[in-house]
């Protein structure tokens, strides 16, 4: 029963990853990121209630505050202050990206197949989805040209990792989780500082200003 919920939530995550891949509006990206966070929270709670691992509740709480409340809020503030609305894909256009994405999903599932049989947890199918989410987020980072959407891609990758951790292994030890959360938070704060420095210098957050150093 719980397994079905988890599989459902996992599918939602995958769907969200694809949605982010195809989204050009940055505000919508943040929304999608927030929804991703909420799905993670739901997922964690389901697992916690099924398995009775109490530390997962803390973990869910941490995720809720960090990824559903704080990070989206910071990101919203940033795009308001920095005034970036739209992004354009640079390397590959969106339909092709989608095709690559599907290929990635196939690869990840195939990779995960032998592993998932081993899993003793109720969430055996999810490791493939987690891997796919991570790789899709990476793909999204590759195809965007605004610094801020890269950061969102980076964070959603973190989400994929978190999902992998909770659903395949019922969460990492608490000390690790805390550490990871701290790093993410500090990272985003530093990024914030960074964005302002970049804008101060280049008056834009476009990555094309950050492509000057090369070898001839």
């Amino acid at each position: 029963m719980a397994g079905q919920y988890i599989n459902l939530l996992a599918s939602i995550l995958l769907l969200l990853a694809f949605a982010m891949l195809s989204q050009r509006r940055i505000k919508s990206l943040i929304n999608l990121f927030m929804i991703q966070g909420m799905t993670l929270v739901a997922n964690t709670v389901v697992i916690a209630s099924t398995t009775g691992q109490t530390h997962l509740y803390y973990s869910a709480l941490l995720t809720l505050t960090l990824k559903v409340v704080i990070l989206p809020w910071i990101l919203y503030r940033m795009i308001r202050q920095l005034n970036v609305e739209w992004d354009v894909e640079t390397l590959i256009n969106i339909p092709s990206t989608m095709l690559v994405g599907i290929a990635i999903v196939i690869i990840s599932f195939n990779l995960a197949l032998p592993i998932s049989h081993l899993a003793g947890t109720i969430t055996r199918g999810t490791i493939g989805i987690a891997m796919a989410c991570v790789l899709l987020s990476l793909l999204m980072m590759i195809t965007r040209s605004k610094a801020i959407s890269q950061v969102i891609g980076f964070l959603s990758m973190e989400n994929g990792l978190f999902f992998a951790a909770t659903s395949t292994t019922y969460g990492m030890p608490m000390v690790v989780e805390l550490g990871v959360a701290l790093d993410v938070l500090v990272g985003v704060l530093i990024l914030g500082v960074f964005f302002f420095q970049i804008r101060e210098k280049f008056e834009s957050l476009d990555l094309k200003h950050l492509e000057k150093t090369e070898e001839e």
């Binding site: 690869i107 793909l139 492509e211």
Partner: protein
């Protein structure tokens, strides 16, 4: 087993290092550094030579330094003793000379002193090393210290370039030697290598690596390009050490590898060495004939001599491969003797150019001339050196040439028909090289010391100081004595040839040199000299007795041509012109022709080495091209960088699957 000679040699080497450090510390007192430290260094050189000469048997020692499982192993056997003898005896003269020569280098005498003595110590340890690690460390320390010596005048761009090429080639060669040691089966000690038996393929591979590595150091074709750049760039005592002694360490290395460590020989290795040696010798001879810079000329002549030495090694390998041990011994003795001779006459000539350079500030042959009047000491000792290097009896160069030709001549039908054909052709080429060396030396000596001074300033040239003279005298005496009484050294070489090829020369008579039997060939330089001298003396007495000795000084007859000035003499380009014409395809000549209206016309021709264009420049271009190719990786866009990450990940995941 650790005997007195070994102790003395190691102490001398350590003493050198200490002297260098003292020199560095005391650099504020340059005259002290010069007049105290360099003569002491010379003394240490003499100690090395004497102890090496009187050492016998094999002595080994282990130092506490080194890698944890591989402390430095030292070993003094007949081969290393002989090369140490070369090192010590040449150093004695060169250090004495340096005492006087570095008068003009007092500004950086401290570093110079350190580098110079470390260089000497490093060469000593190369010759003493009995494990791969110590060998490599001293080998590279030798390269490094000599690099710093070469770049003493680093403000001149050509010298910087020379230093760069030098160290680059040295390093590439060293990597090759290192790989050779790696291919010798796991253990780094020479003792373990001696016990290893490699299969044919492995041994060949190892041989080729070692040949490449040592060849690069020796200046073998086509790895010679650094040599004519680096040797002239260094201060003259250093050029002398590099040409006279350092190149021999490469010969030592090759001999050590071929006959001691690999202890197996394949006939075609010998052919490879022989062929390379011959082409190197011919190339060096022909190129030195067309040089206009006196030190470059000598450097190319070093290339030639290394070629001759390699010919000897190749011949030894061929004989040894067919188990003709006594012939192998003959060829080996000739090779080793030539190493010793070259150390003496080439050092002597480089020192002479040093004095000329100091006195005139000129290296260009086209601006020298007539120095025999102003610098008689230099000129007369240089004459001995020139005649010796040209391989003229009764000096030392002839002895080794004679022995080598004997080795060629008594090839009693090798079991391989091609080889049988090759040997006479090789002998012919070798003789041609010898003749070319004569040409070169007439050019060298005649243009620098004879004729009229080509520049006004040469009339103010001053002769050398007393330290320089001591150095000249020692080296010139060496050239003469080694030519007149070769027996004592050759007798000593029996130990080396017994050790390496298991046979020695049957030479019992100290007056005659008869390597096989006096029926087959004999040569007695002393008798030769006595007969010639008595003929000369009798003629002189007769002329004086029966006729008068009146002499009148006049302007030269010159076929009655009324105008006579220094610019009418042959220039160095002019002297090299016939050779340039005969060997035209091998040169890349850049000419500068004066216009017909030029009131002071100067013709110059610069001959370049085509190997630059054949090998090195393409190499450089290839590296440039690849660098460009790899540079495309780093093209600045973060998205692309992320893509690398992504692709790497996916590819690896697919591999795992």
């Amino acid at each position: 087993m650790n005997g007195l000679p070994m102790d003395l040699i190691v102490s001398a080497a350590l003493f050198w290092i200490a002297l260098g450090l003292v020199g560095l510390v005391a650099q504020k007192k340059p005259s002290f550094v010069r007049n105290a430290i360099f003569p002491l260094g010379a003394l240490a050189g003499a100690i090395v030579a004497v102890s090496a000469f009187f050492s016998s048997g094999v002595e080994t020692a282990v130092s506490f330094l080194g890698l944890p499982d591989l402390p430095f192993h030292l070993r003094l056997d007949s081969l290393s003793a002989f090369f140490l003898f070369i090192l010590g005896s040449a150093t004695f003269g060169i250090s004495l000379y340096a005492t006087g020569y570095f008068r003009n280098e007092e500004k950086h005498i401290g570093t110079l002193c350190l580098e110079y003595h470390v260089f000497l110590a490093a060469m000593t340890f190369v010759l003493l090393a009995d494990d791969a690690f110590l060998f490599m460390v001293s080998w590279e320390a030798m390269a490094l210290s000599s690099y710093f010596l070469v770049t003493t005048d680093h403000k001149i761009p050509e010298i910087r370039r020379a230093g760069f090429i030098y160290l680059l080639m040295a390093h590439v060669g060293a990597i090759s030697i290192l790989l050779y040691f790696g291919s010798m089966g796991g253990d780094y000690g020479f003792d373990a290598m001696r016990k290893t038996h490699l299969s044919g393929m492995q041994a060949t591979f190892a041989f080729l690596l070692a040949f490449f590595g040592f060849g690069a150091k020796a200046g073998m074709l086509p790895l010679h390009v650094w040599l004519p750049e680096a040797h002239p760039a260094a201060p003259s005592p250093v050029s002398a050490l590099m040409s006279g002694v350092m190149l021999k360490t490469a010969v030592y290395g090759l001999l050590r590898v071929l006959f001691d460590l690999l202890h197996m020989q394949v006939w075609w290795w010998g052919v490879v060495i022989l062929a390379t040696g011959l082409s190197t010798a011919l190339f060096g001879a022909v190129f030195s004939a067309v040089q206009s810079d006196m030190k470059r000329l000598l450097a190319y002549s070093s290339v030639e001599n290394i070629g001759i030495i390699f010919v000897g090694i190749g011949l030894t390998v061929i004989f040894k491969a067919y188990a003709m041990n006594s012939l192998a011994a003959l060829a080996l003795v000739a090779t080793l003797y030539h190493c010793l001779n070259h150390a003496f006459f080439k050092s002597l000539l480089f020192l002479c150019t040093g004095s000329v350079l100091h006195a005139t500030g000129e290296r260009n042959l086209g601006k020298l001339g007539g120095l025999i009047h102003k610098m008689p000491w230099v000129a007369w000792t240089a004459l001995i050196g020139s005649l010796a290097i040209a391989g003229l009896p009764p000096l030392n160069g002839f002895v080794s040439e004679w022995l080598l030709l004997q080795a060629f001549l008594f090839t009693p039908g090798l079991p391989h028909s091609y080889l049988n054909m090759l040997i006479p052709v090789a002998a012919a080429a070798l003789v041609l090289t010898g003749a070319a060396a004569g040409y070169v030396m007439v050019k060298f000596y005649g243009i620098i010391f004879l004729g009229q001074p080509r520049e006004e300033k040469l009339r103010e040239a001053k002769s050398s100081g007393k330290w320089e003279r001591a150095g000249f005298l020692w080296l010139a005496a060496g050239c003469v004595l080694l030519g007149l009484v070769p027996f004592f050294v050759i007798d000593h070489l029996a130990g080396v040839s017994n050790f390496l090829v298991g046979a020695s020369l049957e030479n019992r008579d100290w007056l005659f040199l008869a390597p096989i039997s006096s029926e087959r060939a004999s040569y007695s330089p002393l008798l030769f000299l006595i007969v010639t001298l008595s003929a000369i003396g009798l003629a002189f007495i007769a002329v004086r007795r029966f006729y008068h000795g009146r002499v009148r000084r006049e302007i030269p007859w010159n076929c009655g041509y009324p105008v006579w000035n220094a610019r009418m003499q042959d220039t160095s380009e002019g002297f090299g012109q016939p050779i340039r014409q005969i060997f035209d395809p091998f040169f890349k000549v850049g000419r500068e022709l004066p216009s017909p209206f030029d009131s002071k016309p100067r013709y110059s021709a610069k001959t370049e080495d085509k190997f630059w264009y054949w090998i090195y420049i393409p190499f450089g271009r290839a590296a440039e091209y690849f660098a460009g190719l790899f540079g495309k990786i780093q093209q600045g866009r973060i998205l692309v960088y992320l893509l690398y990450n992504f692709v790497t990940l996916i590819v690896l995941l697919l591999i795992v699957q």
